[in-house]
């Protein structure tokens, strides 16, 4: 089984075949802008000293994250990571709660117990990541195992990066998923740099998707700056998994356009690489596509940008009003109670 390299998405009719109408396309554009908006505003908050700890963004990965999340069904679940803000946005997390999370406030999804993108809204089918990134893959596989045991037509999506691909969890998860042909799709956000470690020091195959064959399922390489191609490939993989066809590994190729975190100027990334990938910015690329293929007008664009700007302003204002967590509550919630099981996941 050789790895397949996905073609870019061309025409509007091709997109319609993939299940998206024009309204969906404008929604994708909006989600891309919101994703970038949140991270740009977050950066400002950080510089203002309002975000404790560090600050991470997924600049360059917006298309991949939004593309994958758009392909997921409402009852599908996933374990997005720190470059995947677009997943949270697409699933419907309100931006003000994300800003509150950044600032460690009570209204963030983790109520100040955890920071940055270590969050998820369980009601939206998302599971909060840990810093040990590939550890989330066996968790995603376990979700798929539950669906398989109960014979539900639901799919789990597990994210990891090319850095995380080096760890044993990734292997164990994919091997188990392959053996049991579980309904799970693995998304490898290959952004070429694991902190300062380049790909040639992380793995020795040509494509990480090549490894899928070793686990008994298909591997696909897709241009992660092409939101529609990511959507199309993920949708195909998700529907295949839903129908009992087993896992797929999708390697989404991008470049991490900023440092590992805000403290890192990424001096080790060649300047030419930033220039080359800067021309393929996923947001700009999709905007151009919309103008050329879906008759996006100036008025529509202004309207969407205006709405996103207002959303950001309102969200920031609301997040700043969110209280600090109460230290008197620190000891609460280390252990779950029986009532805690009364959540959407556990029903």
């Amino acid at each position: 089984m050789a790895v397949r390299e996905a073609e870019p998405v061309g025409s509007l009719s091709e997109v319609r075949e993939a299940g998206l109408d024009r309204e969906d396309l404008l929604g994708i554009y909006r989600n891309l802008l919101v994703t970038r908006g949140i991270e740009e505003r977050g950066h400002i908050l950080y510089k203002q000293g309002k975000i404790p700890g560090s600050f991470y963004t997924g600049r360059g990965n917006e298309g991949s994250a939004v593309g994958v999340a758009t392909a997921m069904g409402p009852n599908d679940v996933g374990t997005p990571l720190h470059r995947d803000m677009g997943v949270h946005v697409t699933r419907g997390v309100e931006p003000w709660r994300i800003f509150a999370q950044y600032m460690g406030r009570e209204d963030g999804p983790t109520r100040g117990r955890d920071g940055n993108v270590h969050m998820a809204d369980a009601r939206l089918g998302m599971i909060a990541m840990v810093s040990h990134l590939p550890a989330m893959l066996p968790v995603a596989v376990g979700c798929a195992l539950a669906f398989r045991i109960r014979q539900e037509k639901r799919v789990a999506v597990g994210w990891y990066g090319e850095g995380a691909s080096a760890r044993g969890d990734a292997h164990e998860a994919m091997n188990f998923a392959g053996v049991r042909q579980l309904p799970v799709v693995f998304i490898c956000d290959n952004n070429q740099w694991a902190y300062s470690t380049p790909t040639h020091l992380g793995y020795a195959v040509e494509h990480l998707a090549d490894r899928a064959a070793a686990y008994g399922f298909e591997g696909v390489v897709v241009d992660g700056t092409d939101v529609l191609a990511v959507y199309r490939e993920t949708r195909t993989a998700i529907e295949k998994a839903r129908e009992g066809g087993g896992p797929t590994l999708i390697e989404s190729q991008t470049l991490r356009m900023e440092g590992h975190a805000v403290h890192d100027d990424a001096f080790y990334v060649p300047k030419e690489l930033f220039e080359e990938w800067g021309k393929r910015d996923p947001v700009e690329r999709f905007r151009t596509w919309l103008r050329e293929n879906a008759e996006l007008t100036d008025e529509e664009e202004d309207e969407i940008h205006g709405r996103v700007k207002k959303l950001m302003n309102d969200a920031l204002a609301r997040a700043e009003e969110s209280p600090q967590p109460d230290p008197a509550t620190l000891l609460e919630g280390v252990y779950a109670t029986a009532e805690d099981l009364d959540t959407p996941h556990h029903k």
Binding site: P109, M119, I127, G142, I149, D169, E172, A173, L341
Partner: protein, 324 residues
Amino acid sequence: MPEMTYLQAISDGLRGEMRRDDRVFVIGEDVGVYGGAFKVTLGFQEEFGPWRVIDSPLAETAIVGACTGAAMMGMRPVAEMQFADFVSCAWDHLVTVAAKQRFRAGTPVPIVVRLPSGGGFSGGPFHSQNPESSFAHIPGLKCVCPATPEDAKGLLISAIEDPNPVLFFEHKHLYRRIKGEVPEGRYTVPFGKARTHREGDDVSVITWGAMVYTAGEAAKQLETEDVSVEIIDLRTVIPWDREAVLASARKTSKVLVLHEDTRTGGFGAEIAATIAEEAFEDLDGPVKRLAAPDTPVPFSPVLEKAFIPQVDDVVAGLRELAAY
């Protein structure tokens, strides 16, 4: 009440929960066709099928990680580590993911990891350990260490019912050696409630797991010397019954803390420190600890005997305390 071995009681409790609740499934290495390395799940796959008694690849990380995901999706996974020692490979999933998920993300992770633990059979460094103290240090996990067949069944049912990750340490030396009456049907034994294994007035032994029986034999020997020994079986290490321990300490005023795990940083240190903090005025002697020395578990029967606390060691320790 039927008499069962410790192993049969565990098997009985697990089978009953699987019959009662479709959400409960078993996953581990060789648990299906083979019935588990110790045969706890013998016949389970025939009864419940291959998707509820899942033979996994040799991959503890995948086993525990998958249990975490499945639990979040509403299942009640019961994982078997073939030997407790192998849980080291799943440390990250217990400690990094399962233990912290409720606190930081609000998501409970109701999983049980069964851990055949303990030495006494020349299992050597990798098939004999008692790693409960390592996990007792991790907020968010619970650690259960039953000593009797009745408790083993009732505590396992409580563990499956519990909305948290629970490590269930089954002492291998008790599996077939210890028999006792076990109530039929479903019952639970609450976490955090110690059991008085033996009442006494002069010295208290605080212990759990297989050491309960070592302490019992030592207490019998000391009867002839007119030393009355009280034995408190903690049953669960996290949560642990501070009140029962402190009450016994106040009653006898002399305490020996005994465990099969190694000494430094062992859970006995926590118990001894708590007694010193809370019951200092009631003590008539130092709180003594008796535990395995700080070495890996040795293979040779002679060395292993020197490693695991023996009845004679406990007798000597109690004698010393009684005379203090």
